[in-house]
């Protein structure tokens, strides 16, 4: 039967033969669970007990939950601190590194190395750094200079930046590399023209380099924002004794989801939180693409 088909028909048969398993995979492992998560978010389900329709109850509960608003705020603090800090740092590093030839590869390696580490391992390393005297490295160094101790992870104000620092640190190398690739992609004729016109470096930076880097900047901003909105590994591992603590000061949305679903077994409520996360990610990415792509 296959022999009687035209070349075009054979192509169609092959294409669908190749796609059969993947289409099944994406349907069962991606689309069905997405629909299921949305469905569960409208149900009341304790995992052990029965599954009942709850309508918007979970979302109402979320709206009236003070912990959720604290978590919501934390999530955005991670985003609003993490994204600009890592964007500026990685740009400054890439901009200057791009101008150096001496041991260029070695310096680049130093900046990139943290990207190859595992978040869990590094969260524990940083957690150790943050301990009080006589354990933690930072406070030991401070003590060496006679400077008063800083409470990092125990303080409600310092804990969030302390948890964020390793996340920024680990992602920086990747952004530096992407920025350097973007800088190299700018046609050198622009710089030559600027040189002939005798334009200063600052003007070159703001009028040529940054505008031409726009696609790279868009990519990095969207990519790192999604990362910070989904922060989990660092927070979980640096606060295992009191996840998201102290007093929920570091708790991001993903940790709240994990807690609700796998410690509280309140699947409906957790699913509603995941839907909220999905909507936040969607809105933030769309706004950024809009703002950064236009003009």
């Amino acid at each position: 039967m296959y022999r009687n088909l035209t070349i075009r028909q054979k192509q169609i048969v092959w294409a669908w033969a190749f796609l059969a398993l993947p289409v099944l995979f994406y349907t069962v492992i991606r689309f069905y669970p997405t629909g299921n998560a949305i469905l569960i978010s409208f149900q009341d389900w304790n995992l052990l007990g029965s599954r009942t329709w709850a309508g918007l109850e979970n979302y109402e509960k979320l709206w009236n939950d003070p912990v959720f608003w604290k978590v919501f705020q934390n999530t955005f603090v991670y985003l609003l601190l993490g994204t600009p800090i890592s964007l500026v740092l990685s740009f400054v590093i890439a901009y200057h590194l791009d101008r150096l030839r001496f041991m260029h590869g070695f310096l680049r390696m130093l900046y990139f190395l943290p990207f190859m580490t595992s978040a869990v391992a590094m969260a524990w390393v940083w957690r150790w750094f943050y301990q009080d005297v006589p354990i933690g490295l930072f406070n030991n160094i401070l003590a060496g200079f006679g400077i008063p101790q800083i409470a990092f992870l125990q303080s409600t104000t310092n804990a969030l930046p302390a948890v964020l620092a390793p996340a920024v640190w680990a992602g920086l190398g990747f952004q530096v590399i992407i920025f350097m690739a973007g800088l190299r992609a700018i046609p050198t004729s622009y710089y030559e023209a600027a040189k002939i016109d005798g334009v200063g470096w600052f003007t070159v930076l703001t009028q040529i380099t940054i505008p031409l880097l726009r696609p790279t900047i868009v990519f990095i901003v969207v990519f790192s924002s999604i990362g910070f909105l989904r922060i989990f590994d660092h927070v979980f591992n640096m606060t295992t004794n009191n996840p998201g603590g102290p007093l929920n000061a570091t708790k991001p949305l993903v940790l709240m989801i994990y807690d609700t679903a796998f410690n509280g077994f309140d699947m409906g409520y957790a699913a509603a939180q995941t839907v909220v996360l999905f909507v936040i990610l969607l809105i933030v990415s769309l706004i950024q693409l809009r703002l950064l792509r236009s003009n």
Binding site: P22, I93, L97, A121, W169, I177
Partner: protein, 289 residues
């Protein structure tokens, strides 16, 4: 990108720089060097502490006075890290192979075949990029529970066997494979599967390598889903195991640092060996994907 580095550098700095600029270059180099050293400090301290005796752990010196591998012996003799390491290797390897095969097959099909439904399949796969894993873990968990996949290799691996990112990346790279090659192979009587495997795949090796790096690293360090799906200590992956290990009340910091080093050193070594190659791969995947 290291290929184009010399040209770009030459254009920026070929002229003999004036003296004052030289001074500027030296300061720039020094500052970047100090910054780079700060960047690797956490890794350096992790390794240094893993080589220290307990009494020395809380000294801030980076070089251990009397280096010892005692911590490694202790942690590995405990046995658990050994299993977690093996689990992580198996899971990351199988997942990487699956991604290389399926992502490239799908990417190739979407790129080189014309058939009804092509656009829909492409958009459908691409749209899954927007769905965060966190939204899927609850349904995945329920699914694993009803099919008995909890606490098994398959349970840990199944969500990541194919990725939209990889599919999209491979599709982009198959664009560079000339259609003439495929036509010629068809005339030679190869079937479509053979054409994909023997003609197209060898031409996108750099992209396959980039994808392999990303998938392997991603699975080696994956935490949330393995944490959810495993519950017996034997099935933990390295990150899950390390997390629990660190949380045990009586575990000393030098042992935690040793565990962290065991989980990090393999990827660091691979990176140091294939450095240029990996950086190129990251740029390719980052910009094309």
């Amino acid at each position: 990108m290291t290929d184009i580095a010399p040209t770009a550098d030459a254009l920026l700095m070929a002229k003999p720089a004036p003296r004052s600029r030289n001074m500027g270059q030296i300061i720039r180099w020094l500052l970047l060097f100090i910054g780079g050293i700060i960047m690797v400090m956490p890794i350096a301290y992790m390794i240094s502490t893993s080589l220290k005796w307990p009494h020395e752990v809380y000294n801030v010196n980076l070089i251990p006075e009397d280096p010892t591998t005692e911590n490694y012996t202790y942690v590995l003799e405990d046995g658990r890290f050994y299993w977690w390491f093996v689990n992580s290797v198996i899971i990351a390897t199988i997942t990487t192979i699956c991604n290389l095969l399926f992502d490239s097959l799908v990417g190739y099909t979407l790129c080189k075949f014309r058939f009804p439904g092509r656009t829909i399949v492409f958009i459908a796969i691409l749209s899954t990029l927007m769905i965060p894993t966190e939204m899927l873990v609850i349904p995945w968990y329920l699914m694993s529970q009803s099919f008995g996949w909890l606490d098994s290799y398959w349970g840990i691996m199944f969500p990541g066997l194919m990725t939209a990112f990889g599919t999209f990346l491979m599709k982009q790279f198959f664009e560079s494979v000339p259609d003439d090659f495929i036509e010629a192979a068809r005339i030679d009587g190869l079937n479509e599967l053979q054409i994909w495997w023997t003609v197209a795949m060898p031409l996108v090796k750099p992209a396959l390598a980039a994808l392999a790096i990303f998938v392997f690293l991603g699975n080696w360090t994956a935490f949330l889903w393995p944490l959810i799906v495993t519950n017996s200590v034997d099935m933990y992956t390295i990150p899950v195991g390390l997390s629990g290990f660190g949380d045990e009340a009586d575990v000393a910091w030098e042992l935690i640092m040793t565990g962290a080093a065991i989980s990090t050193i393999p990827t660091l070594v691979v990176f140091l060996i294939f450095q240029r190659f990996i950086i190129r791969g990251v740029v390719m995947a980052g910009l094309k994907g």
